[in-house]
């Protein structure tokens, strides 16, 4: 009994001391992660050849030998879409969604297209609306349109295909292109796609000025805000800096995009609870508190502060578009196009043609009070329903829209007026006569329709893989370059304010341990349809050299960068003899190492007073929805994290909490989440832009960056370039590679990023990617891929994915059965896949 009492007493004392310690614990007011310097290694540079770059190939796969593509039988491709609200706008000038563009892809043609080459190993350029390769005519415009003597690559002459016509047989010439681009840039319409010719890399001279003529245009500040204010210049804050565009002031007025930083009008920040600090904030407050010199986000001032100017009145004659003759047009650009043999066709792989009489009849004119008026001259704004109904749709592509039922079904049929059926360049293509697209929202229903032979292609989900994973009909392809990652919030103040101890996420080793604790391959296999283990920010689809189609991830520099991140050594005396061996063996999964790192993280957290060493830690993992697959993924990660904590002071104390949040990206942008799944992709021909645009543009989440609190302007990356050491911030290096704005500090020493050949660019870029990942603000989980099946009725052009061409699409699809034979076949046979 005495022993028992003594034991209880001792236990009480231990507990008492522990709680006294805990009660006496005072959380650190802030946390500084320390200096972050990354060694980018030595780089020996090679300059690029310059000029138009290498020549593009033009050979095209000729189709299946002996197959009759023009017989009298009818071949229908039955497709489906899972979108709840299917296409509603396929106006080439204002379309919005991917579903809209699905229709547009069939009823329009670009100036150039990319087609499968003869042996289906890559892509070739095909002239479509353009009759031949664009010619550089910059010298003809010297002294005009901002063209200076000696410049090249700024003006491009396109000889038009003389056989273009609309689906009613009306012929198209250069003046139709001029009318169409005038409408695209019509300031009274403000078409959604107007920015196609001024917001990207293909900027038509004065296009934006014409669109915004007489209206206020905002430009990023070119000097410090303090200097501008001192000089009496008004400076404006882009309210998206704080996610406040459209937020209401006390009178219910919505916050505009740009607000003068002297303006003290307060707007309600919905991300903050009413009554708490910063529930109501003004542009003046945000500037003074965060962006002014010496304030926490002063380094972002150049990205969120603007000066305003009224766009000059610009006549159409001053816009960089000229009709030379009935079948020749010139584009005069603001910036030169380099490596034009690829980038001109790439930038002009779509087009913007509308039919004048129909477009005019679809316009409605409104005055400033919203009252309808009779003419365009009287109107202050114009709306149009062009491309919204069957009657207001016209085609100049291989198919024409013949029926449309909102949210139910649409049908496209062969457009016999399309030049491609007669020009001899499209032989062995377009066997399909009819395309029918049905809206099927439920995947299970779509699967049944596929198995019954009612639809001819299906995207597989993870639950289908057990049944169809090994089917010979399955095609695997990358999903537009998307990488799914875990992104962590590392803003100490935001995390600590939650009271869940999730601020341990600021400890680098904690996140590193998290990165090592899950098996990417196992995860991808178990929870995705066709995903593969992901390691880098940039996935396997990205091409770094458009002339060869070479993949970034297969480049030796890029491989070495990831091996550095995951600390996999190769070479003499190391675990792996060669880089390729090491790369093939890399898993990113090492539980013992994760457990060791957790011990370090625990000690560091306690020492820095970001954690009391005792209390439970709850890390909120926000996900889009809490369906079965998310629950499984969450459970997997939670179990592995807890396993990683074993043996450390964190053992039994750390847990993930899943919260479903349909706006989880927005929550994350304001620092409201501890961690989320993030996914970036797209623009797969431009790997060198993704780091800046997605990962380095704002550490507070007010830009595109989702790693809240991870400030790349505080990371130094140093290279030894041709024997000279050069250091700069990761943010600047990434901007240099992005090439969207000059970076004087680097360009003064190295010139432009695009001055170097593609391998040299990879050498620089792979180290930037590694630098970003080295402190684990995010950790890749899997590269997204798609798995799909074609029905036995059809045959894709290629069984393997080809960059820019995919599997060949409708263009190269062939048929094993015509409609009648297929109906007969499925009536008498059970389809087995």
């Amino acid at each position: 009994m005495k022993k028992l009492l003594a034991l209880v007493l001792a236990l009480c004392m231990v507990t008492g001391v522990a709680s006294a310690l805990a009660e006496g614990f005072e959380l650190a007011a802030s946390y500084e992660p320390g200096e972050r310097v990354f060694d980018g290694g030595e780089i020996t540079t090679v300059k690029a050849g310059g000029g138009t770059g290498s020549e593009m190939t033009t050979d095209v796969y000729p189709g299946v030998e002996g197959k009759d593509y023009t017989d009298e039988k009818v071949y229908t491709f039955n497709d489906y879409t899972a979108e709840l609200t299917a296409s509603t706008n396929w106006d080439p000038l204002s379309w919005e969604t991917a579903d809209d563009s699905a229709i547009l892809d069939y009823i329009s043609t670009g100036f150039y297209s990319f087609a499968m080459n003869t042996d289906k190993s890559g892509y070739s350029v095909v002239n479509e609306l353009a009759a031949e390769t664009a010619k550089d005519v910059t010298s003809e415009y010297v002294g005009k349109f901002g063209v200076a003597e000696g410049e090249t690559g700024k003006a491009w002459r396109i000889a038009l295909n003389k056989d273009i016509s609309f689906d009613d047989g009306t012929k198209v010439n250069a003046y139709d292109f001029e009318y169409s681009i005038q409408q695209l840039l019509n300031p009274k319409i403000m078409n959604r796609r107007a920015d196609s010719y001024y917001a990207g890399s293909f900027v038509i001279y004065n296009a934006k000025n014409y669109l915004y003529a007489g209206k206020t245009a905002y430009d990023l500040i070119a000097d410090s805000a303090a200097n501008l204010i001192a000089a009496g210049t008004d400076v404006y804050l882009d309210m998206s800096f704080w996610g406040l565009v459209g937020a209401a002031d006390e009178n219910g007025n919505a916050a505009p995009q740009y607000v003068n930083i002297a303006d003290d009008t307060k707007y309600r920040d919905a991300a903050v609870e009413e009554g708490k600090d910063e529930a109501w904030v003004s542009a003046k407050y945000l500037y003074g508190t965060y962006l002014a010199d010496g304030m926490p986000y002063a380094s972002y001032a150049s990205q969120y502060l603007y000066t305003a100017s009224v766009a000059p009145e610009t006549k159409w004659e001053d816009v960089g578009f000229k009709v030379i003759d009935d079948y020749t047009i010139d584009f005069i650009l603001q910036n030169p196009v380099e490596e034009a043999s690829f980038y001109i066709p790439y930038n002009l792989s779509s087009s913007y043609l509308v039919k004048k009489d129909l477009y005019e009849s679809c316009k409605k004119f409104w005055d400033a009070d919203g009252k309808e008026v009779a003419t365009e001259e009287e109107a202050s704004s114009i709306t149009t329903n062009y491309g919204r109904t069957l009657e207001t749709t016209v085609s100049y592509g291989p198919y024409k829209l013949t029926s449309f039922e909102l949210d139910k079904e649409y049908t496209l049929e062969r457009n016999d007026e399309w030049y491609g059926y007669r020009d001899g360049k499209h032989k062995g293509q377009y066997q399909t006569d009819v395309i029918k697209v049905t809206v099927i929202n439920e995947h299970k229903t779509a699967m049944m329709a596929f198995e019954k032979g009612e639809i001819d292609g299906i995207a597989l989900a993870s639950e289908d893989m057990e049944k169809y994973g090994t089917s010979k009909y399955v095609k695997y392809g990358p999903n537009n370059g998307y990488t799914t990652k875990l992104s962590f919030n590392t803003n100490y103040e935001k995390l600590a304010s939650r009271g869940t101890n999730s601020q341990v996420l600021v400890i680098d080793e904690f996140r590193q341990a998290f990165s090592y604790c899950y098996d990417r391959k196992e995860f991808a296999t178990a929870y995705t349809a066709a995903g593969t283990a992901g390691f880098g920010l940039i996935n396997e689809l990205y091409c770094y050299n458009p002339f060869t189609g070479a993949y970034y991830r297969q480049n030796d520099y890029a491989k070495a960068g990831l091996l550095k991140v995951f600390d996999v050594k190769y070479g003499e005396g190391e675990d792996y003899a060669t880089l390729d061996e090491a790369y093939a063996a890399m898993t990113g999964y090492d539980m013992p190492k994760a457990q060791e790192l957790m011990k370090v993280a625990y000690d560091k957290a306690v020492e820095a007073k970001v954690y009391d060493g005792q209390s439970p830690i709850e890390i909120e993992f926000r996900v889009y929805q809490s369906d079965e697959i998310y629950v499984k993924m969450f459970t997997y990660l939670n179990e592995h994290l807890q396993e990683a904590c074993k043996g450390s002071g964190f053992e039994g104390k750390v847990s993930l909490k899943m919260t479903a949040d349909a706006d989880y990206y927005q929550t994350n942008y304001s620092g409201g989440a501890d961690m989320i799944f993030t996914t970036w992709g797209g623009a797969t021909m431009s790997p060198f832009t993704i780091l800046y645009e997605c990962y380095c543009d704002a550490s507070d989440g007010s830009g595109q960056q989702m790693e809240y609190g991870y400030d790349t302007s505080k990371i130094t990356v140093k290279y030894v370039v041709d024997g000279n050491e050069i250091s700069d911030t990761l943010q600047n290096w990434a901007l240099w590679a992005d090439a969207s704005a000059p970076v004087e500090s680097i360009e003064s020493k190295l010139g432009k990023f695009t001055d170097y050949d593609y391998d040299t660019r990879c050498a620089f870029y792979s180290q930037m990617e590694a630098a970003f990942l080295s402190w684990y603000p995010t950790t890749a989980v899997y590269y997204r891929n798609t798995a799909s099946m074609d029905s036995q009725k059809v045959q894709s052009g290629s069984d393997t994915y080809v960059t820019l061409v995919g599997f060949g699409g409708i263009q190269f699809m062939t048929y094993n059965y015509d409609d009648a034979a297929w109906a007969d076949y499925i009536a008498n046979n059970q389809l087995v896949y």
Binding site: L84, T85, T88, N89, S94, E96, M190, N191, R192, A194, D195, Y198, A199, G200, Y218, S240, G243, L244, V245, G246, A247, A248, N251, G252, N253, A254, P256, Q257, R268, W366, G370, S381, T383, N385, R388, S403, E405, L406, D407, K408, E409, T411, T438, V439, I440, N441, E442, K444, T445, M448, A449, K452, E454, A662, Q666, G682, A683, E693, C694, Q704
Partner: protein, 320 residues
């Protein structure tokens, strides 16, 4: 009665106006989703919103909204969904599908529900009653989308009796063609099971209670046959409770069912309201809110009036 109805209708419009005002102001206080499109000029979207009057003071916006609705029946166009399409026109394109599927299901369900309910009440506590009651419990407990999946799998996929999805107008020819009707049957059955079960349960419960009333004994003792007593007295009394339920079902047909419509590819209004809230499309939200509010308020009036029609003892608006 006429005065009562007039008063109720006027009150309905007052209530509608109050709800509309509150809805408008509250939804406008929610900011539109932030515009984030990498490499795109967000000012074009902001210009579109400006053109739609979204930057004007809320009360000015409300005035313009009211003016457009009252003078031109113009509910605006979609901004976050069905961009640029007329809100009322989209609703009217989609509503017939929802109405038809639900109407068919009710028209089939009412006789079945009443029939089973009457039969169960007449066979109270016998095996027939137990069987019906058990089935009723099953059909009430299991959500309709479960039947939907089962019906779709067995009747449409395995047996091939019906198409997996509703036929398109292009194929069916018209909304009222046999081909369209037959393609609606799976959805009609899925929706109908619950209604049949509900009606059966109510009818059985009410009729069982009525059948034990003293006046039923009186009816039989004064010489009426059992069938006469049931049809003339019991059923009529039971209907005081059942009929409002049936009217409620008819009103509900305008609401649609998001899940059933999704499963069977019915392009109805089932998803419109919830989507408009999720994506914060002001115009669709307002149009849908007012539509359903009106239906709800009107159904209240119709329900109340129906009591008087079924039971002459109930006098609406009478002060005596």
């Amino acid at each position: 009665m006429g005065k009562y109805i007039t008063k109720r209708i006027l009150l309905m419009f007052l209530t509608l106006f109050i709800i509309m005002t509150m809805s408008f102001i509250l939804v406008k206080l929610l900011p539109l989703p932030a515009v984030r499109e990498m490499g795109r000029d967000v000012n074009l979207i902001l210009a579109r919103r400006e053109k739609m009057g979204y930057n004007k003071p809320i009360l000015v916006q409300y005035y313009l909204f009211l003016k457009n609705v009252i003078t031109e029946w113009d509910w605006g166009v979609g901004e976050q969904m069905y961009e640029g399409l007329n809100v009322w026109s989209v609703m009217m394109q989609k509503l017939p599908y929802t109405v038809l599927v639900n109407l068919y299901s009710i028209l089939i369900a009412i006789p079945l529900g009443l029939g089973f309910g009457i039969y169960a009440a007449l066979k109270k506590n016998k095996w027939q009653d137990h069987l019906i009651s058990t089935l009723v419990m099953v059909f009430i407990s299991v959500p309709s989308y479960v039947y939907a999946f089962l019906i779709q799998y067995f009747l449409c996929f395995k047996l091939g009796w019906f198409p997996l999805q509703l036929e398109s107008l292009g194929k069916a020819g018209s909304l009222f063609s046999w081909r369209m009707f037959s393609s609606m049957i799976p959805a009609v059955l899925s929706l109908g099971f619950g209604v049949v079960a509900g009606l059966t349960r109510y009818t059985r419960a009410e009729l069982s209670e009525v059948l034990t009333g003293d006046y039923m004994l009186l009816a039989r003792t004064k010489g009426l046959t059992k069938a006469q007593a049931i049809s003339r007295h019991a059923l009529r009394n039971a209907m005081v409770v059942i009929l409002p339920m049936i009217i409620g079902e008819f009103i509900g047909i305008l609401g649609g069912s998001l899940i059933i419509e999704n499963i069977f590819g019915i392009p109805g209004v089932g998803s419109l309201y919830i989507t408009s809230i999720n994506v914060r499309d002001y115009n669709f939200f307002m149009a849908m809110s007012m539509f359903y509010t009106f239906i709800g308020l009107a159904s209240g009036i119709v329900n109340d009036i129906s009591y008087g029609l079924i039971d002459p003892r109930i006098r609406m608006g009478s002060k005596k």
